[in-house]
């Protein structure tokens, strides 16, 4: 966990008072909405269907318990008692009053939380692996670098008015949980032959109207050079990225139009100018940041404690353990994923009571630390295995022990037309219906790993392109219509899904998904062949045939 020092705290407080002044000028009419819009967006404030929406950053997905309690407090005091965790390690509140926002920000600033650059055409919250620092086999904790980049990108004087938003994600594991290939810059932490830390740098990934998988622009950038390299990419983008058309303004379009070779030459040229500047980071700086991350004092614990052996007799516990508990790099500990996808619930929502209760559980069982993942679930990163049975009971009482992590009901969904002013169709009710259809745990387990992603419009906040099954809501003649793709994925083998046929109506979506799943169960070679592997082996056609044969 990173602890803010006086310097970080001062900056956050200065940002809050600046925003307070901006809100005051807006409410008095001194600022027009046209002028204010960008200012509020730069601080995470959108206008949605029902009200203002407030998006708060959870950098690299790490939260301390006092921070989670502060989020619960904001939900309770300034909103309607709940929040929505997004796919980019943020939390959103849906009903915040503009006039009260400065107070909410001040309450959050007390625990080192802010909303800077959670929206707007600037560098967004830097995201990372929610298992950072605890995943077995990880090269090193990517959050040290995430924090370095978070600082560097915060209120950047040159890049706060980019052609379009800009997102950076970092992973340090072979298995990419941070979806780096669908980011503007994806960083894969690696070691070179000398054992030095650096990054493979990918650029130009993104979803939305024109989806692209990111391309490698440089196979190795030394850690000490990473800020200058990012700065070079941004400088090229700031000057040459398109500003004439909002749909062509992301860096992915520039990379596509120039071609990766030409784009990388431009970056390389710029980089040579600034490489040996004050952007160079030495080991001491990294050590300083590292020293402000605290790591738990793990105990020496047995691999298989008695408590776990005894609890194994309870099939419900076992179902949850097998599903939601992952190996930890330290023996005797586990990483516990907390599903925010209960049957019939909106994906990614948590009530203030749940947040408070989770904070208590994290204090008790996870060294006071909580993580937020891009799949819209939470995690407790350091749970002693002996505590798993007690933790499970407590989570179950809170409605937070649904054993569906990575299963068909672990759905990513954007807020859709129920909340969002850009949406053309609803997302959440589709997700709710699917969680009811596949509520049977044995069935979901039989199906195995299968990610359904739902977006309510082409902007793709629900990452539908990279869902194993992707669902995109559009509007046609005043009606909601859903296009369905299969074969997408967001991990290290990221791929875009393929459309399986004409769009279907709201009421038919769950039926179509059932048909796809039935087709998969019939087509798979053996039970271990996952959905995405069957699609890869057979292509879209056999699925299409079965789904549309009767339609």
């Amino acid at each position: 966990m990173y602890a803010y020092d006086e310097i970080d705290r001062t900056l956050v407080n200065e940002r809050v008072s600046e925003f307070r002044d901006q809100v005051k000028r807006r409410l008095s009419g001194e600022l027009t909405e046209d002028e204010f819009k960008i200012l509020r967006l730069q601080n995470g404030v959108y206008l949605q269907l029902h009200a203002y929406m407030f998006r708060v950053a959870i950098p690299y997905g790490t939260l301390a318990t006092n921070q989670l309690r502060a989020l619960a407090h904001v939900a309770r005091k300034y909103d309607r008692g709940y929040g929505h965790f997004t796919t980019r390690q943020n939390i959103q509140f849906n009903w915040i009053k503009l006039a009260e926002l400065p107070d909410a920000l001040e309450d959050l600033a007390k625990v080192g939380i802010h909303a800077m650059q959670t929206s707007g055409n600037n560098m967004r919250n830097v995201t990372s692996d929610q298992w950072a620092g605890v995943a077995p086999g990880e090269i090193e904790d990517p959050r040290i670098w995430s924090e370095l980049i978070r600082q560097h990108t915060t209120l950047h004087p040159e890049f706060s008015f980019l052609p379009r938003k800009f997102k950076i994600a970092i992973t340090a594991s072979d298995h990419d949980r941070a979806a780096i290939k669908v980011h503007d810059i994806g960083l894969r932490l690696i070691k070179n032959e000398k054992g030095e830390t650096g990054f493979e740098v990918l650029v130009g990934g993104g979803l939305g109207r024109t989806p692209f998988i990111a391309k490698t622009i440089r196979h190795f950038v030394h850690g000490g050079d990473i800020l200058s390299y990012i700065e070079a990419i941004l400088r090229v983008y700031n000057q040459y990225g398109r500003r004439d058309n909002i749909y062509k303004a992301r860096i992915k379009i520039l990379v596509h139009e120039l071609g990766i070779e030409k784009f990388s030459r431009e970056v390389e040229e710029e980089w040579q100018h600034i490489r040996n500047s004050s952007l160079q980071i030495d080991d001491e700086v990294i050590e300083d940041i590292r020293s402000r991350f605290t790591y738990p004092a793990y105990e020496k614990l047995p691999y298989m404690p008695d408590e776990l052996r005894q609890a194994a007799a309870d099939p419900d516990f076992e179902a949850w353990r097998k599903n939601s508990v992952a190996p930890h790099k330290v023996q005797g500990y586990s990483i516990v994923t907390i599903s925010l996808k209960p049957t019939g619930g909106p994906p990614g929502d948590a009530t203030a009571e749940q947040m408070d209760a989770l904070a208590d559980l994290a204090d008790r069982y996870s060294f006071g630390e909580i993580r937020v993942g891009h799949e819209q679930n939470l995690a407790l990163p350091h749970v002693a295995k002996r505590d798993l049975p007690a933790l499970w009971k407590a989570l179950d009482k809170l409605g937070l022990a649904t054993p569906n992590v990575n299963l068909i009901t672990d759905i990513i969904a954007c807020p859709g037309l129920d909340y969002c002013s850009l949406a053309n169709a609803r997302s959440i009710p589709i997700a709710q219906e699917l969680t009811r259809r596949f509520a049977n745990h044995e069935l979901a387990n039989l199906i195995g790993r299968l990610h359904i992603n739902i977006s309510g419009c082409i902007n793709a906040c629900g990452h539908h392109h990279v869902g194993h099954i992707g669902i995109l809501g559009v509007e046609k003649n005043g009606e909601e219509v859903y296009q369905i793709t299969i074969g997408g994925r967001a991990d290290e083998n990221a791929a875009l899904g393929t459309l399986i046929g004409p769009g279907v109506k709201f009421d038919e979506v769950a039926d179509v998904v059932e048909d796809i799943v039935e087709a998969y169960l019939a087509l798979r070679e053996r039970p271990e062949e996952l959905f995405m592997d069957t699609v890869k082996r057979l292509g879209v056609e056999p699925f299409k045939e079965r789904v549309y044969a009767t339609r």
Binding site: R26, L47, H50, G81, L98, A99, P346, P429, Q432
Partner: protein, 105 residues
């Protein structure tokens, strides 16, 4: 941001209203005939042709401190004069989310 007035020609197909969100708290409001805003759809000024719509929108846009993001939205007016939203989006803005519950309890 393009002003709504600069957007393509304003054309309405049937009875319409102007709706926006109130600046200080963001709630959904409707432009009234009394040149102010109301949270109650039944108080909305109804326009029936493009000129009326344009005029109502223009005065709404001018009240930037009162409400933001005004636009024209279709409504249905019953025989009894009761106003109902003309599409799903406006229905949701009026009656709230359709997800049955605001969060898992």
């Amino acid at each position: 941001m393009t002003s709504p007035l600069e957007q393509k020609k304003i054309k309405i197909a049937g009875p319409s209203i102007v709706t926006a969100n109130r600046t200080w708290d963001g709630i959904v409001v409707y432009r009234t005939a009394a040149r102010s805003w109301s949270a109650d759809l039944s108080e909305a000024a109804i326009v029936r042709n493009s000129d009326e719509a344009k005029a109502l929108l223009a005065e709404s846009v001018a009240d930037d401190v009162g409400a933001i993001g005004p636009y024209i939205a279709p409504v249905q007016v019953g025989a009894d004069g009761k106003i109902e939203p003309g599409n799903l989006r406006e229905q949701i803005r009026r009656t709230g989310v359709t997800i049955g519950q605001s969060a898992q309890a």
